[in-house]
């Protein structure tokens, strides 16, 4: 690998888009304000100028129609990347995503593949209040036929898009709004990323801390602090929320015997509930203490900063959960 350069999550994502558009003329980007505005979060800034309005396509505020149009174009052999500005608006397109994108392959007895990529911003943390702070990626992971990925690192921001475009089935990419400005080093020739496996971001032997997307950073910060207290947490980045990589999860649990899940979704019915259930089913006798879930409180996200902070998972919550897990039953 050659010379790493300093970049941001946003730029890595933009590079991935640019490369895809250059590499395959079936690829095009479609969504609200992706062109002239440069993307609500400036991810697609400059692409209109390079690729023109046909391939960087501003759409009206018609989520159901343009997401469905992406499905149709994918069926017809194109490789559309549909940007839904944020997950909050994706509900308006959910019928198309569930009843068409996720279902057509099956209903048609394998005839109609839908190689569609849908990108959306997710997450809370910027005081955008109840209607603009949803974290529904774990909820989407309930739907058979979809692949759900959540890039948390620069490498994944850069590498997951192309892998998603090569996937014959619909892939939803959830980009946490809090990550766009994160910066770091990235190899200029950084290639495509695996979208089937979770990754161990930090090895450890005392407890498995499982996170993804917007919560990975908090999990890693907590792990650092814990290590100074002699607690070595293994931090797992799920990366792909559906299908889940049970193997990597169970392998870690069998070594640490303790689990803390960090998930920005509302607690009840969260992805962390599913992971808990799988661990109980596959590694019950390996557990030394109850599984701890650090999730978002069951409240529409409030505007006031102190309340929003209290509602979503924080490093302190992870620390407390790990201490409970390690303290208990040991």
């Amino acid at each position: 690998m050659n010379e790493p350069v300093k970049t941001t999550y946003r730029e890595a994502m933009r590079e991935a888009l640019r490369e895809a558009l250059r590499r395959d003329d079936r690829v095009f980007l479609m969504g609200e304000d992706v062109g002239r505005y440069g993307g609500c979060f400036a991810v697609s800034l400059g692409l209109l100028e390079e690729f023109g309005p046909d391939r960087i396509r501003d759409t009206p505020l018609s989520e159901s129609a343009f997401v469905g149009a992406g499905i149709g174009a994918a069926i017809a052999g194109m490789r559309p990347i549909v940007e839904i500005m944020t997950v909050n608006f994706s509900l308006l397109a959910l019928d198309q995503i569930l009843n068409n994108a996720a279902t057509l392959l099956h209903m048609s007895g394998g005839q109609i593949g839908v190689p569609l990529v849908i990108r959306m911003t997710t997450g809370a943390g910027r005081q955008l209040a109840a209607q603009h702070s949803h974290s529904l990626e774990g909820w989407y992971a309930h739907i058979p036929g979809l692949r759900i990925v959540a890039p948390a690192t620069l490498d994944d921001a850069r590498g997951m898009l192309w892998a998603a475009l090569e996937d014959p089935d619909p892939v939803l990419i959830f980009e946490h709004g809090g990550l766009y400005n994160t910066s770091g080093e990235l190899a200029t020739d950084a290639g495509t990323a695996d979208i089937a496996r979770a990754a161990v971001r930090r090895p450890g032997s005392h407890v498995s801390v499982i996170a993804y997307g917007g919560t990975l950073g908090k999990a890693l910060m907590a792990a650092e602090e814990l290590s100074s207290d002699g607690i070595e947490a293994e931090v797992i980045d799920l990366r792909t929320l559906r299908p889940l990589d049970d193997e990597t999860i169970m392998d870690s649990v069998r070594r640490t015997h303790r689990v803390v899940l960090v998930d920005e979704g509302w607690r009840s019915g969260s992805l962390s509930a599913e992971i808990t259930a799988r661990i109980v089913e596959q590694a019950f006798y390996d557990l030394d203490s109850p599984i701890e879930r650090v999730c978002t409180a069951e409240v529409p996200i409030p505007y006031a900063k102190h309340l929003e902070d209290a509602a979503i998972p924080q490093v302190e919550d992870v620390l407390a959960a790990v201490r409970r897990a390690v303290g208990d039953g040991g």
Binding site: L105, Q111, D167, D245
Partner: protein, 328 residues
């Protein structure tokens, strides 16, 4: 008779045969439903045959079709063999959707028939996307999208008509106005019941057509499809028709008065063409026999079809090439 006249007569005889195929096929479906050979929802097209037969004459094999749960007619005319449609309703592996879809979800990519959608309005965005792909590749293809008068009330209708017009997409919108959405009459669904007029406000040519007259439908659809193919952007046809049967096999049809139904039956598109073309009863017998043969072959084919092994239940959820491979 001149050769041209002969050809024309031949062609119209073929239109008649196609309408009869739909009629007889569905009459048989009703029997088979009562015999519990076919299950789930079954929506009949009987009475509306002139719409599918007329409109689909305008398409070439390269064109595309998107339909609804009331799609036997579109599927048959588009060329999906009656046998594989029947097998699908039997839930057999030799069905056109491998037995996974049933009556509401007929698919055949070879014939560019993109289904069978059971969410009202749900097929419109797909049609937009299929047409967008053709438009972006500069292919002169038409995507015909069938939907009902009830679908016009859905938000997706509005979004899709605007998008098609805005992006000048090669879509032929075929609105089958049969005056009812299940039990709800047109005037209870819409304040503005002139659907063609409403479509025209999106700045696309929109014409009402007598959907009981197969020749009128064919002529208008051909003009419209040509215009679409030539790059004239989307066109809209309001095909005024009527279903002679209930909405589905579950529907006791309490909401329409008998007189209205009888009135419309007098306009039966098949009888109308027979009268107009002076088809002799001998000729009819020939066609009927031919059609009957096709249908009994279809049933034989369906009966002979295999049930898919239960072990392969989760097939077709993810594609073979799926990274890490398939289900969670």
């Amino acid at each position: 008779m001149t050769r041209a006249k002969n050809a024309l007569a031949e062609h119209r005889r073929e239109l008649l045969r196609q309408m009869l195929r739909i009629r007889r096929f569905e009459e048989k479906c009703v029997e088979l439903y009562s015999a519990a050979k076919i299950r789930g929802f079954l929506h009949l097209y009987i009475g509306e045959e002139a719409v599918a037969v007329g409109a689909l004459q305008a398409l070439t094999p390269g064109d595309k079709v998107v339909s609804t749960y009331r799609e036997h007619g579109h599927a048959l005319v588009r060329g999906i063999p009656a046998s594989s449609i029947m097998a699908e309703m039997y839930g057999r592996m030799n069905g056109c959707s491998h037995g996974r879809g049933g009556s509401m979800h007929l698919f055949d990519t070879e014939r560019r028939f993109y289904g069978g959608n059971a969410i009202v309005g749900g097929g419109l965005p797909l049609a937009i996307g299929l047409a967008l792909a053709d438009r972006m590749r500069g292919e002169q293809r038409v995507t015909a999208c069938f939907f009902g008068d009830g679908a016009v009330a859905e938000g997706e209708f509005h979004e899709c008509l605007n998008l098609a017009a805005l992006w000048e997409l090669p879509v032929l919108f075929c609105c089958e106005n049969n005056l009812y959405a299940m039990g709800t009459a047109l005037a209870i669904e819409h304040k503005q019941t002139d659907l063609a007029m409403r479509a025209s406000t999106y700045e696309m040519p929109a014409w009402p057509v007598d959907g009981m007259d197969v020749l009128a439908v064919e002529e208008t659809a051909s003009h419209a499809a040509e215009a679409v193919r030539e790059g004239g952007g989307p066109h809209f046809l309001e095909l005024r028709t009527y279903r002679f049967r209930a909405h589905s096999m579950y529907d006791p049809d309490r909401y329409r008065d008998r007189a209205e139904i009888e009135e419309w039956k007098r306009r039966d598109p098949i009888d109308a063409l027979v009268r107009r073309e002076k088809i002799s009863s001998d000729e009819m017998t020939v066609i009927d026999k031919e059609v009957a043969g096709e249908i009994s072959d279809a049933i034989e084919f369906a009966e002979a079809g295999e049930l898919e092994p239960v072990e392969s239940l989760t097939r077709f959820v993810y594609s073979p090439g799926s990274p890490g491979g398939g289900p969670p």
